[in-house]
Structures are given as structure tokens and as C-alpha cells.
């Protein structure tokens, strides 16, 4: 889950990287986005303090979070450490 907002510059860098990643892992991993401006309560519930924040969920449970832009390679490595991609 990508926590982002329209005013956030780094989030604009993250978006296309995640889109490519989503296409690559289709069927195995779902990539979702959450606009923190429109879903302030949800963002607060997850304790988001900075964006972009990526949270990796497995079987509905948070297994890890990545704060700040994750470049393509970094993203694959990060997710790969928890899930087979």
C-alpha cells in the first residue's frame, strides 16, 4: 500500500515505479494506493508520519514499511525479502 498525496513531490517519483512493479508482479502481489489527504483517518490509524510510506501486508498483517521513495531495484529487494516475487 502506497500512502501518498498530490502535493508530495517524492510521491510523484514513486508512482510510476510502483506501476511498473505492479505490472511485473501481477497475480502475486496487489499494489494499492491511499491518498492521505482524502483518508486522513486511515493514515493516522497506520501511524503515517511522512510520505511516501509503503506498507507491505501479508495475509492482512503489516510485515514491513518503507519510508521515502523506493527506486525500482530497492523496491524489488525490499518486497523480495518477505515475499517470493
Amino acid at each position: 500500500m502506497d500512502f501518498w498525496a498530490p502535493w508530495c513531490g517524492p510521491c510523484r517519483i514513486q508512482a510510476p515505479i510502483l506501476e511498473d512493479f505492479a505490472a511485473k508482479v501481477k497475480g502475486k502481489i496487489q499494489v494499492r494506493k491511499l491518498n492521505t489527504d482524502e483518508n486522513g483517518d486511515t493514515a493516522a490509524q497506520y501511524g503515517i508520519r511522512s510520505i511516501p510510506t509503503l506498507i507491505l501486508f501479508k495475509d492482512g498483517k503489516e510485515v514491513d514499511r518503507h519510508i521515502g521513495v523506493a527506486q525500482a531495484q530497492e523496491l524489488e529487494k525490499w518486497v523480495g525479502a518477505h515475499v517470493k516475487v
Partner: protein, 330 residues
């Protein structure tokens, strides 16, 4: 023009100096105001140029709520908008960019090699415009809780701290500006400073003192940032009486200045004691031939957007001269 002694022996200088097609005239490291302006000038001069930026284009400008002293915008302009305009303007001249982190820079056979994620580029010249990064306190908990309640940018993260008690660490203009900005969201903001006077300009000090939501913890340093998954407070030491207290804060904003982003360039160019690149004021030439420095990354008196863009323009002017002297331009 310098003497070209050996080249005549094996062929004409022109043939010898012909560049392989994948070599670049210029690589610009950093896409802040300095790098983007250099990119604009270089692309407009039709150089074979590439700009590499590891994050978002605009650099520190992106973290600025409003830029009030950059000419052309009498009402001021939000930092992210200005950053966008800089980027658009450079792209309008066809500047090519890469979103990657430069990992290593070195020189070989008079060329510069720039290592990105999984490949290496070669260029005849470089402009180093990697700017600066926020200085860290260097205390326990700080790294672990970054983005989890520890922040270096009120404009970026402030909105996630609605109704909370916040700390701002520092005593300069930016610390006070950030504190005032955070009062939009926070219940209360405490400025923690290690001395008993602020360095900030009088106008800002006045605004902070008069603001009902802003208070001060003087003569105080932070020894540790507390919290497991999220920052919950700090361990603060009073320098006057030596007492240590735990104080609760939902967020800790650290604004104690910036340090140059020059780790990569140690050994390549001369740095001063603070780590800034030493460059000639008239040409921005560094100690390495064909390598120029622009913007906050270099030793200079005033670090602002207006001076960074000036550096970007001048650096390209010097690059053109360098390439011409080496007969590398058509």
C-alpha cells in the same frame, strides 16, 4: 590555448579526440535549482548532456513552503511549484534526465566515470550540484524513528501531526520558521535550543515569542529520541543544571542546519574543512580539470535559490570553454 604535445605523433588531434558515441559531453549530478539551471543552459547549447537526480527534481526547494525572495514572483511562490517550473523549463530545451542515485565517481584516461545503479556512464566533464542534506543530531533513536515521528521537513510532514505536541530542535531562521508553520497543525510547539538566545532574525523571533502556541526550552540538548514504532518523546538535558528529563512529543522536527552532500567526491576534488567543494569564484572550476561545482555544495557565502541558479549558468559557461579548449565540440 594549451600545447598539445604528443598528439601530432599518431594522428591529428581531431581524430584522436573523437568521442565514442556513448560518451557524454557533460553529466550533471543533482537536480536542484543549480543542476536544473545547468541542465537548461547545457541542453540549450546542444551539449550531449545528462542530468542524474536520485529523488525529486527541485532539491531543497521542494521542502520550502514559500519562496519569497526569488525574482519574478512578487507574491512569493510555493516551493514545489517553483521546482516544477524549473524542471519544465529545462525539459523544454530537451534536457535528458535519469532518476537514479550516483554511487561512485572517478576518473580514467582523462574521462570521468559515473556509476549508477547497475551501469556506468562516461563523460568529458562534470557539474557537481548535489546540494546539501539536513544535519542530524546524531543521537540514539534518531535514525530508527526517521519518518516515524522524527522529521527534517515541516512542510513535507507537518500535516500528519494534527493536534499534537511537537518539538522543533534548533535556533536559527529555519527552526523558527518551521515552528511557526507547524502551529497550523499542532496543539503546541516547543523550540528546543542549546543556548539561551536564538540566532534567528529579530522579526522571526518576535513572531515566535508572541505566538500563543509556541514555547521554548532553553539551554537544552537532546540526548535520545524515545519510542519503539513511533517517536513518543525525547530525553533532554539541561546544560545549566545538568538535569535530564523525559518530555513527551508526538513529533520531533530537527532543523540544525545542513551539511554538503560531498562524500562521493572525496578524493576527486578538493573539499574544505566543512566538506564543501572548493571552486574558483570566477569559473567554478574545482581542483579536477573539467569538473565544476554549482550551488549549495560548494564553499560560498550565500546559499539561496538565486545564487544556486547563477552558479548553474556559470558552470555551463565554463564547461563550454573547457570542451572548446579540448576541441571536443563540433
Amino acid at each position: 590555448m594549451g600545447r598539445r604535445s604528443c598528439q601530432g605523433l599518431t594522428g591529428s588531434p581531431r581524430v584522436l579526440k573523437k568521442m565514442p558515441t556513448d560518451d557524454l559531453h557533460l553529466i550533471i549530478i543533482g537536480g536542484g535549482p543549480a543542476g536544473l539551471t545547468a541542465g537548461l543552459y547545457a541542453a540549450r547549447a546542444r551539449l550531449n548532456v545528462l542530468l542524474v537526480e536520485r529523488g525529486s527534481f527541485g532539491g531543497q526547494v521542494l521542502t520550502t513552503h514559500k519562496v519569497e525572495n526569488y525574482p519574478g514572483f512578487p507574491e512569493g511562490i510555493p516551493g514545489p511549484e517553483l521546482a516544477d517550473l524549473f524542471q519544465q523549463h529545462a525539459k523544454a530545451f530537451g534536457l535528458e534526465t535519469r532518476s537514479e542515485t550516483v554511487r561512485k565517481v572517478w576518473t580514467e584516461d582523462g574521462m570521468y566515470l559515473v556509476e549508477l545503479g547497475d551501469h556506468t556512464l562516461r563523460s568529458s566533464s562534470l557539474i557537481l550540484a548535489s546540494g546539501s542534506r539536513p544535519r542530524q543530531l546524531g543521537v540514539r533513536g534518531e535514525g530508527r524513528l526517521r519518518g516515524r515521528g522524527v522529521s527534517y521537513c515541516a512542510t513535507c510532514d507537518g500535516a500528519f501531526f494534527r493536534g499534537e505536541d511537537l518539538a522543533v530542535v534548533g535556533g536559527g531562521d529555519s527552526a523558527v520558521e518551521e515552528a511557526l508553520f507547524l502551529t497550523r497543525f499542532a496543539r503546541a510547539v516547543t523550540i528546543i535550543h542549546r543556548r539561551d538566545v536564538l540566532r534567528a532574525t529579530p522579526i522571526l523571533q518576535e513572531r515566535a515569542r508572541q505566538h500563543p502556541a509556541v514555547s521554548f526550552l532553553w539551554n537544552t540538548v537532546i540526548e535520545e529520541i524515545l519510542g519503539e514504532q513511533q517517536a513518543v518523546g525525547v530525553k533532554a538535558r539541561n546544560l545549566k543544571d545538568g538535569t535530564v528529563n523525559e518530555v513527551n512529543f508526538g513529533g520531533i522536527f530537527i532543523t540544525i542546519g545542513h551539511e554538503p552532500e560531498t562524500d562521493l567526491f572525496k578524493g576527486l576534488v578538493e573539499l574544505d574543512g566543512d566538506g564543501h567543494i572548493v571552486a574558483d569564484e570566477a569559473t567554478l572550476a574545482t581542483s579536477a580539470p573539467g569538473v565544476f561545482a554549482a550551488g549549495d555544495v560548494r564553499r560560498k557565502v550565500l546559499r539561496q535559490v538565486a545564487t544556486a541558479v547563477g552558479d548553474g549558468a556559470l558552470a555551463v559557461h565554463s564547461v563550454l570553454k573547457y570542451l572548446e579548449d579540448k576541441a571536443l565540440l563540433p
